[in-house]
């Protein structure tokens, strides 16, 4: 069922007036020759938030991040980092950001120590502090034991962690991470995710792009779905689900006799359907009517013995498919 007001999905709740947003983009347009890559995107990210940028390849995610990283000169609209205009004072913006591109640029002739010292010098960290800072970021990224290894010899996951160590060298407030989990094996992906959680706890504001929807649902406080250069939805996952009138699936295993139990569950307020599967029931729940906790209560009141009660994570894929049409810019 389509949302009542699709336009309401494109804008998020405004950041409170007394808070200066770390990222503020307003009506951003970027052209590559005849291609209109970004079409009027507006975002505000308050401090400490993890904003997930979701979209298919070619949607304009990397371009938007590159604008914030001061790497694209030809754009219209306003982009600000901590209130500093990216277009007018890019040099000041560079001090505030840590940018990790969607590829890992390799200096094959450097080892990990030299690589980090190289960028520490590039970020003008005083020479006396460099050793301590590098020690800290290596510890955070669990790469201390690799300090003497050639960068080229590291696994892809380690390279990504090294890239995160690099962006943390000058302790930026905002991290711009373009597809950080792309091409990683499951273990490396989990390691990167845990590292990002640790950074969130440190109070960093993160703008992260990905086309792996499951990744972001575990990490982001808000998401923005972009397609063909346009923002089709933004807000917290719950908000988007509510606005899209999507349902959460709850998996339930019951013990004992289940005669007529399906019909009784269907009668619970907010339950849209109940599907009997091999070892469980899959209940589709309208969360705007009934919360997950209320469903649990209702099941207990029915007198059934619950062996397993497992609400599925928000089905971001459904939201994504519902909001996008597979267009590119």
């Amino acid at each position: 069922m389509p949302p009542d007001d699709p336009a309401s999905l494109k804008t998020a709740d405004p950041v409170p007036a007394d808070v200066v947003p770390v990222v503020s983009i307003e009506n951003l347009h970027v052209h590559y020759g005849p291609i209109h890559a970004v079409r009027g995107i507006s975002i505000e990210i308050p401090p400490g938030e993890v904003f997930g940028f979701i979209g298919p390849n070619g949607a304009g995610k990397s371009t938007t991040i590159k604008v914030l990283a001061t790497l694209i000169g030809h754009f219209t609209g306003t982009a600000k980092i901590n209130g500093i205009d990216v277009g007018r004072r890019p040099q000041a913006v560079r001090e505030q950001i840590g940018y990790m591109p969607d590829f890992f640029g390799v200096y094959e002739d450097l080892n990990v120590r030299e690589y980090l010292h190289f960028f520490a010098a590039a970020y003008r960290i005083p020479r006396k502090q460099r050793k301590t800072v590098i020690g800290d970021v290596l510890e955070l990224t669990d790469l201390t034991h690799k300090i003497g290894d050639q960068v080229d010899s590291l696994s892809r996951g380690m390279k990504q962690r090294l890239a995160l160590a690099r962006v943390l060298l000058h302790d930026p407030q905002l991290l711009l991470l373009d597809e950080p989990a792309s091409g990683l094996d499951p273990r490396a992906r989990i390691e990167v995710r845990e590292l990002l959680k640790a950074l969130t706890e440190m109070g960093k504001t993160i703008l992260i792009s990905s086309h792996i929807l499951h990744e972001l649902s575990h990490l982001c406080t808000r998401i923005g779905i972009i397609e063909a250069g346009e923002m089709v939805a933004q807000g917290s996952l719950e908000e988007i689900f509510r606005k899209l009138q999507l349902m959460r699936v709850v998996h339930v295993q019951l013990t004992g006799s289940d005669d007529g139990v399906v019909d009784r569950i269907r009668e619970i307020k907010g339950v849209a359907s109940v599907e009997r599967q091999v070892d469980r029931f899959a209940i589709q729940l309208r969360e705007d009517h009934t919360a997950v906790e209320e469903l649990h209560e209702a099941l207990v009141k029915l007198g059934v013995r619950i062996h397993m009660f497992q609400p599925e994570a928000m089905d971001m894929e459904t939201a994504f498919m519902k909001l996008t049409e597979g267009k590119t810019a």
């Binding site: 000041a92 560079r94 640029g105």
Partner: protein
């Protein structure tokens, strides 16, 4: 089961030709080639016909010279353009990781190689077609036999196939286009003696027409331009066989390498060579001294200039150790050759020194072009440029720090050039000190230094040429490198531009002696000024002839060189300033009026 009939189709060739036709550079190169060919042919034709004056009858029979010049020019064009066109045939697929996709199609390795070769030969053949009107004009003037005309066309075609096969084989073997490009020229030079040997064997065994003595030695030049046209059918076929057999061998080897080296890891040829030399010297040191190390080769961590640090501590042509090796490997043979010719006749020793100078100039320009074009292009190809651009370093800082390594290379390459200038100055003095026999060891260097005062204008102009031309070349190469999408394209464009710029004026006067050129320039001062400004090589030529001999007076010499150096010095300064002031735009990042000011403002606000 339905029988699959063989289908005649060349899908890869079709795709390659469609791609080429969609690229702007195809038309730019074709226009450039045609312009150069017709310009040079026009100059040659005019020179040949000038002898006849207004007598039209005297022009008859002059077609032979014209025809030979056209064939020679086309041969030169093949040597210059075809390796550049063909060496990327397979390596480009490897660099794009698309070769595997081709190998799993129904196209066999041989078909892939053959179609790739054809796709590079077709544009070259269209270049050859450009000379048909010129050949027709030469033929109409008489003096060219039909067999000679056919042999010229056949030989040019065969040489195209030979060089194309060699380049495609190198492309199959190598991991990068630059390596394939260098390998094609290196193998081309190495294979030359074998071609001669093949020619001799054929002449001796098949045709039994092998001349003996000096005449036999003459056939060492069987594939040189002078043998490109012949009125002997036997000679023509013999040369076709001599070039055709290795072409088949190259294609066969290329087919083998195509599969076996499809996933070869890219390696830096110079770095590999230097590392092998390292191993050899370490072994030698261990063997001779037991491993005594006088100076430890410690790598420091970066200070406040990280890019300079990496360029000078980590790059092949940037480190002090390798720069010293480059210097020693150029300076030692140079010194030995110049010392060996010191006792020769006046003109002979100066001639050898001048030739050595041209070789060292060419080498210096080549090395500087390679180094300068790769500064930013390599960052782009390694996808590291965005990391630097997102850092707070200003674009001006990035460029200057990058360029520092080229400056060090220029210092190193300038030394052999100064060595030659000193030798030439000493040679021009009559090699004083040499007559002292064993004492010469002490007196010659003093005499060489004293000669500076006697040929001060020559030394000054020569040293100025090094001080101005090398940085000029480096900034031109850097500018092309920064504006190009790929390192290979940047290098090829730079080399074509610099060598075209340097050699074109020399090619125009190819049949004249340097002294004659200088004299003719002096007879017409406006022409001299234009010539002085049209190419850096002209002033080097003037220096080498007018500076030491009495062809030009000191005043004339100084005036013309001053005009040249002022023009080119200003050019160098302008290009450098242009690169620095437009550094943000050239590097592709947002500009800030004053980065330091902006940073302070932020600190103030916080």
């Amino acid at each position: 089961m339905t029988r699959r009939w063989p289908q005649l189709g060349l899908p890869l060739l079709t795709k390659e030709l469609i791609e080429q036709s969609a690229q702007r550079r195809t038309y730019v190169i074709r226009l450039l080639y045609a312009s150069l060919l017709f310009l040079l042919a026009y100059l040659e034709f005019e020179r040949i016909l000038a002898v006849s004056g207004s007598n039209t009858l005297a022009m008859l029979g002059k077609g032979t010279d014209m025809f030979h010049q056209v064939v020679n020019l086309q041969f030169l064009g093949i040597l210059l353009f075809l390796p550049a066109l063909a060496c990327g045939a397979i390596t480009a697929e490897k660099e794009r990781d698309s070769l595997t996709m081709l190998l799993v199609t129904r196209l066999g390795p041989f078909t892939i190689l053959f179609e790739k070769l054809l796709s590079r030969l077709v544009p070259m053949f269209t270049f050859l077609l450009l000379s048909l009107p010129l050949m027709a004009f030469a033929y109409s003037l008489g003096g060219v036999s039909t067999l000679e005309l056919v042999s010229g066309i056949v030989m040019l075609t065969t040489i195209c196939i030979y060089i194309g096969s060699l380049a495609v084989m190198c492309s199959s073997w190598c991991g990068s286009t630059v390596s394939a490009f260098v390998s094609t020229y290196a193998l081309g030079l190495l294979s030359y003696p074998f071609l001669i040997l093949g020619t001799r064997m054929l002449m001796a065994v098949v045709f039994t027409t092998m001349p003996i003595g000096p005449a036999g030695a003459f056939y060492f030049f069987a594939v040189a331009p002078i043998q490109l046209t012949t009125d002997s059918l036997e000679t023509m076929w013999m040369q076709v066989v001599v070039l055709g057999v290795p072409s088949l061998l190259f294609i066969t080897l290329g087919r083998l390498f195509l599969v076996r080296r499809a996933h070869v890891i890219r390696s830096n040829l110079v770095l590999t060579l230097f590392r092998r030399l390292d191993h050899f010297f370490f072994w030698l040191n261990e063997f001779t001294t037991g491993g005594v190390v006088l100076v430890r080769d410690d790598v420091q961590l970066p200070d406040d200039r990280p890019i300079t640090w990496r360029e000078t501590q980590k790059k092949t042509l940037g480190t002090t150790r390798y720069l010293v090796r480059v210097l020693v490997s150029i300076e030692t043979p140079l010194f030995l050759v110049l010392a060996a010719v010191a006792g020769m006749a006046y003109q002979a020793r100066l001639g050898v020194a001048a030739e050595a100078l041209y070789v060292v100039w060419a080498l210096a320009v080549l090395l500087i072009a390679v180094q300068a074009t790769s500064l930013v292009a390599s960052e782009r190809s390694h996808q590291t440029i965005d990391l630097l651009l997102a850092s707070p370093m200003t674009s001006r800082e990035i460029i200057l720090q990058k360029h520092y390594s080229v400056r060090r290379l220029m210092y190193v390459l300038g030394l052999p050039l100064v060595t030659i200038f000193l030798f030439e100055s000493w040679f021009a003095m009559g090699t004083p000190g040499l007559e002292d026999g064993p004492k010469a060891v002490l007196t010659v260097p003093l005499a060489a230094l004293a000669s500076i005062f006697f040929h001060f204008d020559y030394i000054l102009c020569s040293v100025l040429s090094v001080v101005i031309y090398l940085p000029l070349c480096s900034w031109i190469a850097f500018l092309i490198g920064i504006k190009s999408r790929s390192q290979v394209r940047a290098l090829l464009v730079t080399l074509l531009l610099l060598f075209g710029w340097a050699f074109l004026p020399v090619l125009v006067f190819v049949n004249d002696q340097p002294e004659v050129i200088v004299e003719s320039l002096l007879r017409s001062p406006p022409m001299a000024v234009v010539a002085c400004l049209c190419s850096p090589s002209v002033i080097i030529l003037i220096n080498e002839t007018g500076g030491l001999n009495d062809v030009m007076g000191t005043d004339d010499h100084l005036i013309y060189t001053l005009i040249n150096f002022t023009g080119y010095g200003l050019g160098w300064w302008w290009i450098r300033q242009w690169c620095l002031t437009r550094s943000n735009r050239l590097l592709g990042r947002l500009a800030d009026d004053d980065g330091v000011w902006a940073t302070r403002q932020v600190e103030g606000e916080s």
